[in-house]
């Protein structure tokens, strides 16, 4: 039987406000346990929430960026459950009237096609604290620093049909969030988390199959692998005549499989009701317009501009705008070197290759945009050849001197002096009589070999165009 996959994603993003969602406690990362948890965060009786405008603005900023309907009147609700890292006994969230309503993202797939994936909603809610389960004489330790930090939960429509689409959607979301500067969105650190709802059904069926939810996956790659393995599992069960149990599962990366996380004997019943301690949040058109006016250039717009302004292919432009930092880096290199095409090649190949090889973020790169621009400038003005430039690039990783100093110290300057080049050419001609004869007999492509010999002799420093010209002249 042919099956099709239906995936919906719930992404939690930790909003980078200075203070918590409902209290003035700091949200700074890495503080000593419970030093950023005040009487409200600890849920002492009598304390009341006061809503943080910064979190609201960030949510609206996300909403307008994806062209979503903005809830002009949003309402907070209580989601009730007991867990020690949730001191109030309920999480404040938005159930029926979220701040961000329907919107959409456009993703580009590996075959170059584009797909629009709907966003159902995005609501503001508070984070829980952390439980530590080891080394406390059989007790659990609770750190409430994270309790009450603002989250934006972004829910997709069940319109994703493969692991590849799911990852493309997540990456696009990640890029937009980083452009908007509303979260670090680092999956490995938990500031972006992903729950995946997966079901399969026979091709052509209109009704959805029973879904499972895979919780808390912490990398793009694991999202992809978890979906592939879960789809496989469901397919095997259904083909054996079994049925899927609706449940929460966990992805085990070591075994590359999902395992059941919670038995559902007592189904979760969160008994939502409107949060009586908070009033409805009302915003007007003016507020939304002001947020919109402050939007930065977003990835899709920037990609089109790069393609046009710098005459790049859509693909190359897409690579360069994949992160805001990279796009800004590229623009510095392109404008300072004056060669957008060469800059694009160096940034998307040499620089990104370097980052990938070392598993670095752009900020870790020892080569800043200004230095790379200077390197390209020196290629353009014939101080060095493109090949020597690779050597200079390697040197720049360890040597912080400026490009000109490196070229000077290493004696890498391109030889453009025709007298010197003539010496190399003469020597190569006298050392390779056979090839010279072949050239004279009309075998034009031998020139490549002879140029190569000259370049070797000059240790790569001779200007190849000049060598080529002089060789042809001398062998006529």
């Amino acid at each position: 039987m042919e099956w099709e996959t239906v995936i919906g994603l719930e992404v939690h993003v930790s909003l980078s406000t200075k203070s918590k969602l409902f209290s003035g406690s700091s949200t700074e990362f890495g503080a000593a346990p419970n030093t950023q948890a005040n009487i409200f965060d600890c849920a002492l009786p009598g304390t009341l929430p006061v809503f943080n405008e910064g979190a609201l603005r960030m949510a609206v900023r996300f909403g307008v960026a994806i062209g979503a309907e903005i809830g002009k009147r949003s309402v907070f609700d209580r989601k009730n459950y007991f867990y020690p890292d949730l001191p109030k006994g309920y999480q404040v969230t938005q159930l029926d009237f979220p701040t961000v309503g329907k919107g959409a993202l456009t993703v580009t797939l590996s075959d170059g096609s584009e797909k629009v994936i709907g966003v159902t909603r995005a609501h503001i809610e508070e984070n829980a604290g952390k439980s530590l389960h080891e080394e406390f004489h059989g007790m659990s330790g609770i750190d409430l620093n994270r309790a009450g930090e603002p989250l934006l939960e972004i829910v997709s429509e069940p319109e994703i049909t493969s692991a590849e689409e799911a990852v493309a959607y997540l990456k696009k979301l990640h890029t937009i969030i980083r452009y908007l500067d509303i979260s670090d969105a680092i999956m490995a650190q938990g500031s972006m988390r992903c729950d995946v709802n997966v079901s399969i059904r026979p091709v052509g069926d209109t009704e959805l199959g029973t879904r499972t939810e895979i919780k808390n996956i912490n990398s793009f790659r694991f999202v992809e692998k978890a979906i592939i393995s879960e789809v496989q599992r469901q397919q095997e069960i259904l083909e054996d005549g079994g049925r899927i149990i609706q449940e929460t599962r966990r992805y085990n990366a070591d075994k590359d499989e999902t395992t059941s996380m919670r038995s559902k004997e007592v189904a979760n019943d969160y008994r939502y009701f409107p949060e009586p301690d908070l009033l409805p949040v009302v915003i007007d058109d003016e507020y939304i317009a002001a947020v919109k006016a402050q939007l930065p250039e977003l990835p899709d717009a920037r990609r089109s501009r790069f393609a046009e302004e710098y005459a790049l292919s859509e693909y190359d432009a897409g690579v360069l705008v994949s992160s805001r930092e990279l796009a800004e880096y590229y623009e510095i290199v392109a404008s300072q070197s004056g060669d957008a095409k060469l800059a694009a090649n160096w940034v998307s190949q040499d620089l990104l290759g370097l980052l990938n090889k070392n598993n670095w973020e752009l900020a870790d790169s020892p080569i800043q945009a200004e230095r790379l621009a200077m390197l390209i400038t020196r290629i353009k003005d014939n101080t060095i050849s493109g090949k020597i430039a690779k050597t200079v690039f390697e040197t720049m990783l360890e040597d912080e001197s400026d490009v000109d100093t490196i070229i000077e110290n290493k004696g890498l300057k391109q030889v453009t002096d025709s007298g010197e080049i003539e010496k190399f050419v003469d020597e190569v001609i006298s050392n390779n009589p056979d090839q010279v004869q072949q050239y004279k007999d009309g075998k034009q492509q031998v020139i490549g070999f002879l140029v190569g010999q000259c370049m070797q002799l000059s240790k790569g420093k001779a200007n190849p165009a000049q060598v080529n010209e002089l060789l042809r002249e001398k062998m006529q």
């Binding site: 406000t17 200075k18 203070s19 209290s23 003035g24 406690s25 700091s26 000593a32 346990p33 419970n34 030093t35 950023q36 948890a37 005040n38 009487i39 600890c42 002492l44 006061v50 809503f51 943080n52 405008e53 910064g54 979190a55 609201l56 309402v75 009730n80 007991f82 867990y83 020690p84 029926d96 009237f97 439980s131 530590l132 389960h133 406390f136 059989g138 007790m139 659990s140 330790g141 609770i142 750190d143 409430l144 996380m261 919670r262 007592v266 019943d269 008994r271 409107p274 009586p276 908070l278 009033l279 409805p280 949040v281 009302v282």
Partner: protein, 95 residues
């Protein structure tokens, strides 16, 4: 609306309340009374009425995003039954 003992037990469990057998009957009756009131309200035609999240016609005041709180860990942990290394200690909970 019908309500049996097992449902009362379930609701009590969700709220982490202990309801003894001798209390169960009285609690069931009281919840039934509340449900009857809700049934009565449900029967009212509210077709043209906007859902109400709050009885007062006021909106939420917003707080500027700034840190206004200081570390009060020491005084707060004096209130807790157990703490260690800055953490509040609670009976072990594992999923």
């Amino acid at each position: 609306m019908a309500l049996d003992k097992s449902e009362v037990e379930k609701i009590a469990h969700l709220a982490r309340l202990h309801v003894s057998d001798s209390e169960a009957e009285g609690v069931t009756t009281r919840i039934k009374d509340i449900l009857a009131l809700i049934d009565q309200m449900q029967s009212v035609d509210t077709e043209s009425v906007e859902p109400l999240a709050h009885p007062l016609d006021v909106v939420q005041r917003l707080r500027i995003d700034e840190v206004t709180e200081e570390n009060q860990r020491e005084s707060l942990q004096k209130l807790a039954p157990a703490s260690e290394d800055g953490l509040y200690l609670v009976p072990k909970v594992l999923e």
